[in-house]
Symmetry: C2
């Protein structure tokens, strides 16, 4: 019950592998194979249950029909949804996805890139970690098709799909200010990535636009390591400031989750007095009794564009450098 190869078919029919290969790749006409022979081969192939070996194909052609996906953590719903949308989109082109989680660690991230390249992926979709820039540059030089999603680097040429972090963040914070909240604490994700810089910039821009002075002490930086306690600490400090704050703005969904969780526990009896908003969210946030304003990224669009940009690179000789910025929506739960 072992696999049927081209050679098996050719032996069975007493013809060359070449001929069978031509037929199986639909090049019968182009290569002037007679109609009878073509039909005979097709029939025999079906009869023997022939399936081409991706390995053989890949080794010879250099195309593996596989895309490598590197995210910070596949178990985070943002990345899981991204993975799903990339999976579906890639499938349309006949591609599969191999994935890895970097945990925002550049060492892991670059190891995965190397590994996937060794496995001959045709392209890489990467949520890069801080410090990956040099490596991405290497990819560009090696002409390995790649797309950065969610975050990118401004100092190198690359292909990118991101949401409009600055504008989105600006609108979220502006909304708070309009609601009368002037002292807005910001829980920042301190990983040195452009998306986070954009969100911080949006925060500052909104303050400035409303003539509110930027107050450094309202910004708390949370690292990836020990994110749970660090977020709790950040929120506790914000809630206990001498001059009370009006709102807390979380830089991403994970921070928002941890922050809201902490507030619930810390403050379980009395309802929290601060407004809460975040960039990006979890679906379930709609179920909370906590009023909340958040930005929504179209993850499907992110995935679609990423795959599209990969395919564009795979099918083009010319170097491509494209930055696609997608809009975000603001949603409010009362």
């Amino acid at each position: 019950m072992k696999k049927v190869s081209l050679a098996d078919i050719s032996k069975e029919l007493g013809v060359s592998k070449t001929l069978v290969s031509f037929v199986m790749n639909g090049k019968a006409e182009e290569k002037r194979i007679s109609t009878e022979m073509t039909e005979k081969v097709l029939l025999k192939a079906k009869e023997m249950g022939y399936k081409p070996s991706y390995l053989g194909k890949a080794l010879r052609t250099g195309k593996s029909n596989t895309i490598g996906l590197i995210v910070a953590d596949i178990s985070n719903s943002f990345f899981a949804k991204l993975a799903r949308s990339i999976e579906d989109e890639a499938m349309k082109y006949g591609y599969n996805v191999i994935f890895g989680s970097s945990d925002e660690d550049s060492h892991k991230s670059t190891q995965l890139i190397d590994l996937f390249i060794d496995k001959n992926v045709d392209g890489l979709i990467i949520c890069p970690s801080k410090g990956d820039a040099k490596y991405i540059e290497k990819l560009q030089n090696m002409k390995t098709p790649n797309v950065l999603v969610d975050r990118y680097f401004t100092d190198i040429d690359c292909n990118v799909v991101v949401v409009d972090n600055l504008e989105g963040s600006f609108r979220i914070v502006k909304d708070q200010i309009i609601k009368g909240n002037k002292r807005i604490g910001y829980v920042n994700f301190n990983v040195g990535l452009t998306n986070m810089e954009g969100r911080l910039a949006g925060y500052k821009k909104a303050l400035k636009a409303s003539g509110i002075a930027f107050d450094e002490s309202l910004v708390k930086n949370v690292p990836f390591k020990g994110i749970e306690e660090e977020t709790a600490n950040a929120v506790r400090e914000l809630l206990n400031m001498d001059k009370p704050i009006d709102a807390i703005y979380f830089a991403n969904n994970h921070l928002a989750f941890l922050g809201v969780k902490f507030i619930k526990e810390y403050n379980s009896n009395k309802k929290s007095l601060v407004s809460i908003c975040s960039f990006d969210s979890f679906e379930f946030m709609s179920l909370l009794d906590t009023p909340l304003v958040y930005g929504v990224q179209s993850i499907d669009k992110l995935g679609e564009n990423a795959v599209d940009l990969i395919m564009k690179q795979i099918n083009s000789v010319a170097q491509i450098n494209e930055i696609r910025v997608l809009p975000i929506d603001i949603v409010e739960i009362k």
Copy 2:
């Protein structure tokens, strides 16, 4: 800047590929390669930045060091977490993971199995859909290492890692009964899978153990297609029964999410009067104001066991048929 192959190194040193291959695979001693030559090769390999090609290796040895993972939907947090745990565990063995979502559709599911086999995965970890049994049997016959997780089939030999659905479900329902809830509506996920059967059986067993008659009209079956509206309908019917119910038990986390969401919207002013419990949950459920009892599966253990069972098959000539049943915990949110 193209990849360095064994042949490149051998040419550079004026030796055979065989020799280089031996050295690179740590067989220098076994194959009696001289120490000086071994060092020379190792040095040159490092110097030239040699990385073995997985494709070449895989084609020759038949081992791709890749595992195929097929889940219902990678964007569902249960499967995303499972994927992460499998990723980490597989990495320990030097394996990567290629994934696909079946959407509980046997057609998609079997297509993915075929595709992954064509791509020469060394093993398959599958959350099978209803109707996959025949195909899984084929895998067994072809001696393709495979493990079913989360659900399985009782009528065929297979390797399985599941949680104890019957016992877990029994304990969840028993807990409700102890709390004084006798009329317990059950929102079942109607996909004809053993895990769901086990949960239903646990529900019945708990009723029986407490001398409560099983009432067919309290069980609502929700299909995968149109799951949102169907869940809403099921819950609405349960809430509007002539003889009021005391509690609703959801068969899985997705149903629980949709159900709780519906109850919130349907019943937004007055607090819901029924108790809610579910098999499995989402992390965020701890943030809801809704009191809730649910079973917790150790997804990490699920993943670890699945990979372990795959590796056992890969490294064994003998056929293996093992069913591992993991315990679940019950958690209560007040």
